[in-house]
């Protein structure tokens, strides 16, 4: 009957807080608080060699760190398994050609390109990690400012790279097609979006779908030891598309609002 323990419907998200530019020495950063789940993402742009099979594109590298503060299970090396699983999921989600315009990250074909190192830090684990992480990654990429470089050619033909002096002269990424992950957990005969820790404990299987703002699915992954009926998978994908689209709209609106506040915005950061 569409009523969960905290009064939400099956397709309602918890109250989320998004803040960008929280870490000053990164190219872009964002912090997302979804209920009790707290995620911090930092993006650093560095110059590197392009991959051999894609000489005229840059690339993204993901690294996920499960802080020991998140839950007691992450003490020591406990969080590594979850961290690699999340990183692999992120690689898969972003593996589609259209998500990020990698050609814009190229400086010199075959020689130099921008590599975006995306570091995800799990500060608190309150259920529904993947959704919060994907929201934070999208917000951080939106916030990323990559300095403009010019390639100068000498008479001998050797190339020099010149970094622009003006710190505000930079290129921003187009995040319109960056997908967001929607996790649908199956509980009993129905499925719910944005499960809390308690709901996750009751759910035997979940489906992770990554949806772009236009509603196209870029990847689907099933987690959990239970089984999913093919019909319910289809239903869950439809729900995922619907919810994903509204999620993108809400996130974009918040990011634009935050952007429009400009420098007068009061930063809440970590101590506010």
């Amino acid at each position: 009957e569409d009523l969960r323990v905290d009064g939400r419907g099956c397709e309602d998200y918890r109250c989320a807080e998004v803040e960008t530019a929280v870490v000053s020495n990164t190219s872009g950063s964002a912090r997302v608080k979804l209920g009790h789940t707290d995620i911090l993402v930092g993006v650093k742009a560095e110059m590197g060699m392009p991959k051999l099979e894609k000489p005229d594109e840059g690339y993204l590298e993901f690294f996920v760190d499960c802080s020991a503060n998140a839950t007691p299970e992450f003490e020591g090396r406990g969080g590594e398994e979850l961290g690699t699983e999340i990183a692999n999921t992120l690689y898969r989600v972003f593996s589609s050609e259209s998500s990020v315009d990698l050609k814009s990250l190229c400086i010199n074909p075959r020689e130099h390109c921008w590599v975006l190192y995306v570091d995800v830090l799990l500060l608190e684990c309150g259920g529904n990690l993947f959704d919060a992480i994907s929201l934070a990654v999208k917000a951080a990429l939106f916030n990323t400012r990559i300095p403009k470089v010019r390639v100068l050619e000498d008479e001998e033909g050797s190339k020099e790279i010149e970094l622009s002096d003006d710190p505000y002269d930079c290129i921003r990424l187009n995040v319109d097609d960056v997908p967001c992950i929607v996790t649908l957990s199956k509980i009993g005969y129905r499925h719910v979006v944005d499960a809390t820790l308690q709901e996750e404990a009751c759910s035997l299987a979940s489906l992770l779908v990554s949806v772009t703002s236009k509603g196209t699915l870029t990847s689907v992954k099933k987690v959990g030891k239970g089984s999913l009926d093919p019909e319910s998978i289809f239903e869950m994908m439809e729900t995922g598309k619907r919810v994903g689209k509204s999620l993108h709209v809400a996130l974009q609106k918040t990011l634009d609002e935050e952007e429009s506040l400009g420098t007068s915005r009061q930063k809440v950061g970590f101590l506010g």
Binding site: D6, G7, C15
Partner: protein
């Protein structure tokens, strides 16, 4: 810091008073298993900090369908009775350890069962809405650091009625509701 619930401190099914035998020990697993939630009273505290529990009265025992909210124990007011039947249609157990159990008020008191049979019938939607609302109200009171007792929970419930259940957890709505509750409680004292 463990707590012990001895077999002799429990009520047997059927409420009989007899010596507990070895068969009772073996049959216990049919009734209580790891992971079940029970309500019990502290009989005594040992010198090393361990606690001895008992479920001697028929109001204690295994808990059936309901919602658990875990709060800080300092926010639960120490009162004579911990079991409250709220007029809004649900009952609540305010444990001093911070575990709050919200459940639908049972129709008749099945005294013979003594808390042994769990009612697994589906709970009607109206009851579930009341329970969800109470759960959100308790979370709101806890976030705003207000003491939890039957009157404060009830006032908070009444203050939250104009809002939708899921909106209670929004920060602005939470502050508004708790402010109103605080006001009513002050009026009650003054």
């Amino acid at each position: 810091l463990d707590s012990v619930l001895l077999l002799s401190s429990m009520n047997l099914p059927g409420g009989e008073l007899r010596r507990r035998s070895a068969e009772d020990e073996l049959a216990m697993r049919d009734y209580l298993q790891e992971g079940d939630l029970i309500s019990a009273e502290v009989q005594s505290v040992f010198s090393d900090g361990a606690v001895s529990l008992h479920t001697r009265s028929l109001k204690y025992g295994k808990l059936g369908q309901g919602v658990l909210v875990q709060v800080s124990p300092s926010l639960v007011k120490r009162q004579k009775t911990h079991f409250h039947d709220l007029p809004c249609g649900a009952s609540v157990i305010l444990g001093n350890n911070g575990f709050i159990w919200i459940y639908p008020t049972p129709e008749q008191k099945d005294e013979e069962a003594g808390g042994f049979t769990t009612n697994l019938e589906p709970v009607p939607l109206s009851d579930r809405e009341v329970i969800s609302r109470l759960r959100n109200c308790i979370v709101a009171l806890v976030t705003q650091q207000l003491m939890l007792f039957d009157t404060s929970i009830l006032y908070c419930y009444e203050a939250s009625l104009p809002h939708q259940i899921k909106d209670i957890l929004k920060p602005e709505v939470m502050e508004e509701i708790v402010l109103e509750t605080r006001q009513r409680l002050l009026d009650l004292e003054g």
